[in-house]
């Protein structure tokens, strides 16, 4: 059955989802390279957790308007708005107060998630069953996905991948040498903001696939794995995109054979396996080759 899933043979929906997950992983890997190289890896964790109040609020608004509260476009819009608010709060706190980015990330992550949990208990007090399904956004669930949702994710992943490709060169210059980028006329702050926006887009598209708790891993783990193989920025980004796509593809395919399990943890563990292999075996910066070089030098 896994072979069938890997060969995209488990039906039209599962195929769409698997391809969408691969595209999502590609965009996440490219974007994550930039975050990792800029030392902002855990920004993705705050963005992910900050989506929850928006998701639940969007659900409540749609129900109040008489629509289906679980409509994915509405939930994604809510997620994007509250994550954007979270990003703005983080920027404000680090610029206007003496607190560091780590404190800002931790505060936004926990407070937004806490507020989301409060709203979630409000939803649960609504007439039975209407809130069911919202919790799949926490850890991802691709098994029960509707056709339109799969199209939406595939299209979103394609757009995010193209945007990551278009911005890739500028982002890398900025990441590797901010001072030089500034001198060369690259608007560093705008590039930073574009990368944050891209991370936000990846998070929102990935809600149903990876879920908001673990999306940070899809952003940073492929990039961290790619870093072991090469020192050249362009290669790191390309490799990270590839590793991310592979994680999404394999993770979604494995998940299709185990519909009862949440998809996010599976995708993440595939990415972590690639990371672990790279950590040990990568020829340039891997631990084995480093140890061999150290022995050779001694």
């Amino acid at each position: 059955m896994l072979g069938q899933a890997l060969a995209l043979g488990l039906g039209y929906n599962a195929t769409l989802v698997t391809l969408g997950a691969a595209g999502l992983g590609f965009a996440a890997g490219m974007t994550g390279t930039f975050l990792v190289l800029r030392g902002r890896a855990l920004l993705g964790d705050a963005i992910g957790h900050a989506t929850l109040p928006g998701i639940v609020a969007a659900f409540l608004v749609m129900v109040a308007l008489g629509a289906d509260g679980r409509a994915l476009p509405g939930l994604m819009l809510g997620a994007a708005l509250s994550a954007a608010l979270g990003v703005w709060v983080m920027g404000w706190v680090t610029r206007r107060t003496r607190l560091g980015e780590d404190a800002a990330i931790g505060a936004v992550l926990s407070v937004f998630f806490g507020a989301g949990v409060v709203l979630l208990t409000v939803v649960q007090s609504l007439p039975a069953g209407r809130g069911a399904g919202l919790e799949t956004m926490l850890l991802g669930a691709t098994a029960s996905m509707l056709r339109q949702e799969a199209y939406l994710i595939l299209a979103g992943a394609a757009v995010a991948s193209l945007a990551a490709l278009a911005l890739g060169r500028t982002m890398l210059w900025t990441a590797f040498d901010p001072a030089f980028a500034q001198a060369a006329g690259i608007p560093v702050r705008r590039v930073d903001r574009a990368a944050t926006a891209l991370a936000l887009a990846v998070t929102v598209i990935g809600l149903k696939v990876v879920g908001l708790i673990l999306i940070v891993a899809l952003l940073i783990v492929p990039a961290a794995a790619a870093r072991f193989w090469t020192d050249r920025g362009g290669h790191v980004a390309a490799l990270a995109g590839l590793f991310g796509a592979l994680s999404g593809y394999l993770g979604a395919a494995i998940s299709a054979t185990a519909p009862a399990l949440p998809t996010g943890p599976i995708v993440v563990l595939v990415a972590v396996a690639i990371f672990a292999l790279s950590l040990v075996f990568a020829p340039r910066r891997g631990m084995l080759s480093r140890a061999a070089r150290a022995r050779g030098a001694a």
Partner: protein, 303 residues
């Protein structure tokens, strides 16, 4: 049941457990914040879940001691793995942290989902959000129950556990105060004074792990993260002095817990809704509001 009994059993006891948990986290949080390691609490609390699941798989039952040991073991494994990635793998610290805690959390979730835990109180939801509201004291019959040993012995076990953890952490902070006060600002100076900088850092990590593990069971991991970060961060904006900062942090933690718990329990009723909302979520929200006020008005807020 009398009003006093209801207040004691259903409000005061869970509220006190929440307050103790918040204050126990807010102490190591101060030192983590000053060392710019605020997110270590985030990492540790994510790794508690796999620790507890593994302990459950090994012992086959929900028992306090194995679970605490499992969670503490997982926290230590996580810290060691992060160190390994940073030192041997030359991975940037934030990336190392994110990789390790998401890997362990993902493994914990999958282990949990594949294990038959239908009969026991163990699921991802509980791990994230806790169940402060369910830690009630059913034997409370009135104020006199506070002096009745039989009734006191039926207090939820989380109460004693949390009080003990808070006591240990308080004693740790008092005992190592001088070392803790110097080392975050000037590692070199601390080393010159003969203070073991590495051991102090390890002690801080262990204190944070103890707070996270003890509090996690009662209030869930999201509240643990909020209490590690928000009260200390708000306190940082109030004062320049370490002692005062610790004091503010404890005050803010207790205020968040008490206000948050009461708002979660009674707030919806005042607004005309029939049921209460998540206490852990509301406490985290209140701590964020306090931090917001401190960021706007705190006397030492300037960058």
């Amino acid at each position: 049941m009398t009003g006093a009994a209801e207040f004691l059993g259903f409000t005061l006891v869970p509220m006190l457990i929440g307050t103790l948990a918040a204050m126990a986290c807010a102490v190591p949080g101060v030192f983590l914040l000053l060392r710019r390691q605020a997110l270590l609490g985030d990492a540790i609390s994510h790794t508690v879940l796999p620790g507890i699941v593994v302990a459950f798989l090994l012992t086959g039952r929900i028992a306090t001691l194995p679970m605490l040991l499992g969670a503490a073991g997982a926290a230590i494994v996580a810290v060691l793995l992060i160190q390994l990635l940073v030192r041997a793998g030359r991975v940037e610290p934030g990336t190392a942290m994110g990789t390790v805690f998401s890997a362990m959390f993902a493994a914990g979730v999958l282990l949990l989902e594949r294990t038959d835990t239908a009969g026991v109180h163990l699921d991802v939801r509980h791990a994230l959000m806790g169940s402060l509201e369910s830690l009630v004291w059913l034997e409370a019959e009135g104020w006199h129950s506070l002096f009745d040993p039989d009734a006191l012995s039926t207090l939820p076990p989380e109460f004693g556990r949390m009080a003990l953890a808070a006591l240990v952490i308080g004693a740790w902070a008092a005992l190592f105060w001088r070392a803790l006060a110097i080392s975050p600002f000037d590692a070199g100076f601390a080393a010159v004074l003969g203070l073991p900088v590495g051991a102090i850092g390890l002690g801080l990590t262990l204190a944070a792990a103890l707070a996270a593990v003890a509090a996690f069971d009662a209030v869930g991991s999201i509240l643990v993260i909020a209490m590690f970060v928000c009260p200390p961060a708000a306190a940082r904006l109030m004062t320049e002095r370490l002692g005062a900062m610790l004091g503010w942090s404890l005050v803010f933690a207790a205020a968040s817990a008490i206000l948050g718990f009461l708002l979660a329990g009674y707030g919806p009723l005042w607004l005309g809704f029939p049921s209460s909302v998540s206490a852990a979520g509301m406490i985290a929200t209140v701590s964020g509001l306090i931090l917001g006020l401190a960021a706007l008005l705190g006397p030492a807020r300037g960058a």
